[in-house]
Each structure stands twice: as C-alpha cells, then as structure tokens.
Symmetry: C2
C-alpha cells in the first residue's frame, strides 16, 4: 500500500507546532502527515474546542500569539467581556477571532461532518501546507487522576492551572475509538521515511494517541524509524507541566526519563546538548540517543532541528 | 386572575425598543411586559439568533449601535474576519460581543432551557428593567412569499436587502405554537391598563404575534384598550421596508393604511402630526385616531411619546 506520506509527526499543541513548522519547510509539506492529539478536546459553551489542532494551525501559519503560548496574535476579547456581563463561564478564554474556528467546527460537526473533514477544510482555508488530521474522529477525553479528584484535562490545565497533584491519567473513550485510518495506512507504507514524536507532553499529548487501538502495534510494525524529541531540557519542561507531572508520578524530570517512558517504542531519541550526560540513563540499549540544540526560539531554529531530526532518522536503521 | 402587569407592549426590533424604553421610564418597569416577535429567529452557523429580542435588550440598556439600527455600540468584527478566512458564510454579520448572546442562548436551549427562561436570564444579567418574553417558546418562521420565491425572513431582509418584491407572508409553525402563557394571562387581568402595539412593521413584527393561537381572541376579550402607534410617517417607514412592502401588496403606504391593517383589533391609533389629515381614511369608526409627534430621536422623545400613549389609553374606553 502506498500512502504518498514521507513523514508522520505526532503532535500536541505549541511545542509540537514549532517542530512541525520546521518539518513543513524541510520536506515536501504535502507528504508530511501531522496527527494531532484530541484528548484535550472538549465542549465549552456548546462549542467543540480542539486546542491542539488549533495551536498547530495557528503556530504553523504565523497566527499564534507570540507570548501566550495559546490563541491568536492580535486577538480581541469583546466576546468574553459580554459572556462575563451575561453571567456565563469565563475560566476558559475564547478570543473573538479564535471563536470562528470553534463555531464553524461545531456547526459542521452537527451537520454530520467528521472531525477529520472539518479539520482538513479549516486547515486548507487557513493555508496549512501539510496534512493535518485528528488522531481519531471519536471522542477521547484525557482525565487527570489527581489529589483533587478526576479532572477533565481543561479543568486541570486551565481552570486549576495544573495545581492539583497528578497521580495518573486515563483516556476515556480511547478503547472504543477508531484511530485515524490514514495514520495507520501511512505506517504500513514501506516508503515511509520517519515517524517523529514531537517535543510534547508525553502524558497529555502523545499517550492519548498511543493508547488508541492498533496504534502501538502499527508503530511496532512500521519499517520507518521512530524518533522522539525531548520536551525536557535541563530538568525543566520547555512549556507546561511536564516536569511537575513527572515529579508527582515519582520520576526525576529529565530527558532520559522521557526516553524511558517511550521505551522500545522509539528507535532514536534526541535530547538537548545540555543533557548529553543523560545518554547513559536511557535504559533501552536499542534506542540510539543523540544530542543537538533542541530549543526552538525562531523559525530558523525550527528548520535546523527538523533537518537534524530527519538526518537522525535517515541514519538510524530500524531495530 | 391577577398578573401584576399594568401594560403589555408588542414589539419588533429597533422602533419598538425605542417606545419600550420610554414606557419603562414612564411606568413601574416591573409591571411592563414586553412581548417580542420571534418570527425573525433563525439558526445561523449553528447559533440561535433572536434579532428582535436582542435589539430590545441592546436598545433599552444603552448598548445599541447609534447609527446602524442593529447590533451593539463599540462592536468589533474579528470573528467575522476569521469566518471569512475560514470560508464560512458572511452575509449575516455577527459582532464579537453580540456573539456572546447567541452562544449562550444556543447552549442553554440545547441544555433544555426554554427560550423564555433564556430570555429572562439574559435580560436580567444585562439590566433590562422590565419583563421581556418571546411571543412563544416554539419555533415560528416568518416566510416572505416573493417574486424570488419563498424566502426566510433573514434571507429576504439581510442577504437580499429587501430587494425581492413581496407578495405575502406565511408564519411557518405558528398554528402549532403555544403563545406565551404570561401574555395571555395578563390580557385576562381586569387590572391591565393598556396593550401597546409598538411602531414596528405590521407584517414582519406584529402579525407573527397576532397569528399565534388564542392571541386574537384574547386581545378581543381584554378589557384594556389596545393602542397602536404608526410605523409610517409622511408615507415613509421610519426604518426598514414597511412602506415598500405595503406598496408591493397594493396598499398606499400611509399611517391610515396601518390602522386599517389592524382594523377592529385596536381601540386607538396614534399617528404623526404630519399625517393628521389621514384621520378620515381610517375605516373603522370605533378606532379613535389621535396625532402627536411620534418620531423618537432622543430618550426624551421616547418618554414623551410613552406618556402620550398612556394618556391616550387612559382616556380611551374600550369599545
């Protein structure tokens, strides 16, 4: 089976979007398939919000907010002001322009379109140059098991600002969900060059993809090398609660611990030069570990890292 | 039965909102019941839009746009810009702040709340001092029978800018709808002081209320005088397509023709001083006709007209 896909990237939101931007400039973007986590998706004020899909769309088309790490640049907030005046819920901020994606997505889903079709149409309209698809068209909800109870992801992440202590995660609906067929097909393609696990939170962004039926088996069976990029540098998460969660789960927050989390799923692991001493802490001896500057502060950094990842994949023979 | 309602006003959007503002300042507003036309309601981009309810809310709480005649003052349009970028429909403009009402209304309706309950909650939150209720909680759609076919109201009014030639109107769903019970109860109250038909379009704003089951009978039976204010001055509509529609239906656009449209439903008709010569053209001799300055260009004008209407009602014994 030939899928015409050269590289698959598994991605959460902002960090993943940066590496995806680099890959899209390094490769023929029409042959790059990005599988977005949708375990963060939720219905808020009756609108279907897909935070990671939207972060990837905004981040790869120059629309992302330069500082916030979420939402759009040049956003206005009149909608939220009126929501507050009307006594509606205000803990989750929806910008005026951002709202268009949620309203259209919700409307199209109610009309019977799949989330994949909605995502393709919005991505095409907004100039996303690669293929962007949700990990599944079914509903999967990441739940944080915490000392404050079982919290839906956005409640934990946004409303509670990641304050509760995480004890574990469940991915509600995952066992009944159908993994994105184009993803599974592309993994079977002998011409597939690489699978890239972006520097996203492993628990909140990547595991929801990995636990879908048939995904681990398909990743184990693919001929292409699987390369993960560390979301931890110098013991700190580049963004978000990854380090905090690792500590709460009893792991030392380190790049090596991320590699060990993925275990024999991956063939190569790219950590930052600052962490090169951690190579020996990667337990699976079949995982090749390389170091490079992995912090992406500019479009140039994104492209440099993308080329580094592709060189790594091309030189790494699958185990 | 006592309803504690002193005055009922039947209202469309902007013109009605002006007289309602005046009535709310002239009377104890908690004893003023405003019944809003919802024949204009429609679902757009998956959102339930109630144009007349919103015009009344904005117009009576100082939020209305001073020039447009619809929407909010100080509105921004980032949502519509992104809708356009995403390839969504742009013929119906939804402002960023305005959107909050449509999103909350749609969400609450989907949760099973009635349109009456939604309207009460939004009106209370936004400081509407009187009782504002939709004419019905059921779906009624005003359809314009035109030379361009059967057009839903917003398609005719907004998308087609009232260009098609009107041949008649149907109020889809009206025969199955339940008229607002608080409206019918208030009409039965012997203490009711007046029913005011606001200077709104008779075909598009008032008739949808009048055709609901039991409404004409209840209006005929009420002890309170029914006073209508002309939406036509000097042969022109104060706003909107009333005069154009009248001409297309074969009537001379005049205040008297409005009175004749309502016929024996009303007890009193207030037309502008400019049209006082038309008194004799009002066919029903039991309808008392008075003239006054009815153009409302300021809050003061609104209050003056409201007092004039109430004086008229108090002096007019029901037929």
């Amino acid at each position: 089976m030939t899928s015409n896909i050269e590289v698959i990237a598994l991605s959460g939101g902002v960090g993943g979007a940066k590496l995806v931007s680099g890959l899209a400039k390094t490769l023929d973007p029409t042959r790059l398939l990005v599988i977005a986590n949708t375990g963060d998706d939720f219905v808020h004020l009756g609108l279907h919000v897909s935070p990671d899909i939207d972060s990837i769309v905004y981040g790869t088309t120059g629309r992302n907010h330069p500082v916030n790490g979420w939402g759009r640049a040049d956003e206005t907030w009149n909608f939220m002001e009126m929501i507050a005046e009307c006594g509606g819920e205000t803990w989750f901020q929806l910008g005026d322009g951002d709202l268009a994606l949620h309203v259209l997505r919700s409307d199209w889903l109610r009309q019977g379109k799949s989330l994949s079709a909605v995502t393709c149409d919005l991505a095409a309209a907004l100039g996303v140059p690669f293929r962007l698809l949700p990990m599944t068209d079914d509903s999967v909800s990441t739940i944080v098991e915490s000392d404050a109870g079982r919290l839906p992801l956005q409640t934990y992440f946004v409303r509670e600002q990641c304050r509760p202590k995480a004890k574990g995660f469940t991915y509600q609906g995952a066992d009944q969900a159908v993994a994105q067929p184009q993803f599974l097909e592309a993994l079977e393609d002998p011409a597939l060059r690489a699978v890239v696990i972006c520097p996203s939170n492993p628990y909140l962004s990547i595991d929801p993809i990995l636990v879908l039926p048939d995904v681990r088996e398909a990743l184990a069976a693919t001929r292409a090398p699987i390369i993960a990029v560390s979301p931890i540098v110098g013991g700190q998460a580049l963004k978000g609660p990854t380090a905090k969660i690792m500590a709460e789960l009893g792991f030392e927050p380190s790049a090596a611990a991320i590699a060990n989390h993925y275990g024999d799923l991956i063939d190569g692991f790219l950590l930052d030069e600052a962490d090169s001493a951690e190579r020996d802490q990667v337990l699976d001896r079949e995982v090749e570990v390389r170091s490079a500057p992995i912090v992406m502060n500019s479009p140039k950094d994104q492209a440099v890292l993308a080329r580094e990842v592709m060189r790594f994949a091309d030189e790494r023979q699958p185990a």
